[in-house]
């Protein structure tokens, strides 16, 4: 079973994309707490696509949710045809800094790295393909 859907890459569609991911994960009987984290990591990654791959707000985002054969894993694949953008190259903020010195950017990528077990990026045929994987969350 795999679930794929394409959306307009616009910020006001964000909730629809996240609902789709939530529903897909529910079908695999993933528990609520894990789904919330998957949705959180996805939000961060999707917002990056909307902001950096499609800065002028036009284009499409395809989301593919699938079960992995390995390690009871679940993956979320984000595919867009926008400007080349590799989130794995983004810098993480130093979360140990005192609050006065905190950089308010970069938190999103930090959360993705913390929640997901793997994040792979490739640029192929004019597309950004981001694969987020989480293991050991299937019943």
């Amino acid at each position: 079973m795999n679930t794929t859907k394409t959306f307009d890459a616009k910020m006001d569609r964000l909730d629809d994309v996240l609902s789709f991911i939530r529903e897909s994960a529910l079908r695999y009987n993933i528990e609520e707490a894990s789904i919330n984290k998957l949705v959180l990591a996805s939000e961060e990654a999707i917002v990056n696509v909307f902001k950096y791959a499609y800065p002028d707000d036009t284009g499409e985002l395809t989301v593919k949710c699938e079960k992995l054969e390995e390690q009871q894993g679940f993956s979320i694949v984000l595919i867009d045809s926008g400007i080349e953008f590799d989130p794995t190259k983004m810098e993480e903020p130093d979360v140990d800094l005192p609050v006065e010195d905190r950089d308010v950017g970069g938190l999103g990528i930090f959360m993705i790295n913390n929640i997901m077990d793997e994040m792979e990026y490739k640029r192929k045929d004019g597309q950004n393909i981001l694969v987020l994987k989480k293991f050991n969350i299937m019943e």
Binding site: N36, L40, E44, V104
Partner: protein
């Protein structure tokens, strides 16, 4: 549940009731609600999170922004966060500068 943020200021304490979700779509609205507090003399910013189901980094950014602008003499409290929300706060390392409590007296 719909998303709702209610701000009430009593003397030097600002109480904010947060309901629903705080994410990329409404972080700006949340920020606008809180910004007037920067013009006041606030000793405590109290965020009631009991009914907040979800927070993303966009929401966390507003909180760290407020803490930075209000300064070190203003304490920011987080009251009764749900487990998922608390996990996100801890994951981001925000528990180092937020006072997280089950309830608020005062």
């Amino acid at each position: 549940m719909s998303n709702k943020f209610t701000v009430a200021v009593d003397k030097n304490v600002a109480k904010v009731k947060m309901e629903g979700r705080l994410d990329t779509n409404n972080a700006a609205e949340f920020s606008e609600k809180l910004k007037p507090l920067l013009k006041k003399d606030i000793d405590e910013l109290v965020l009631f999170m009991e009914d907040l189901n979800y927070i993303s980094s966009a929401g966390l950014r507003v909180i760290v922004f407020m803490k930075q602008k209000l300064g070190r003499d203003t304490d920011v409290y987080v009251i009764a966060p749900q487990r998922d929300v608390l996990e996100v706060i801890e994951m981001a390392g925000f528990d180092s500068f937020l006072e997280i409590q089950d309830s608020y007296e005062g």
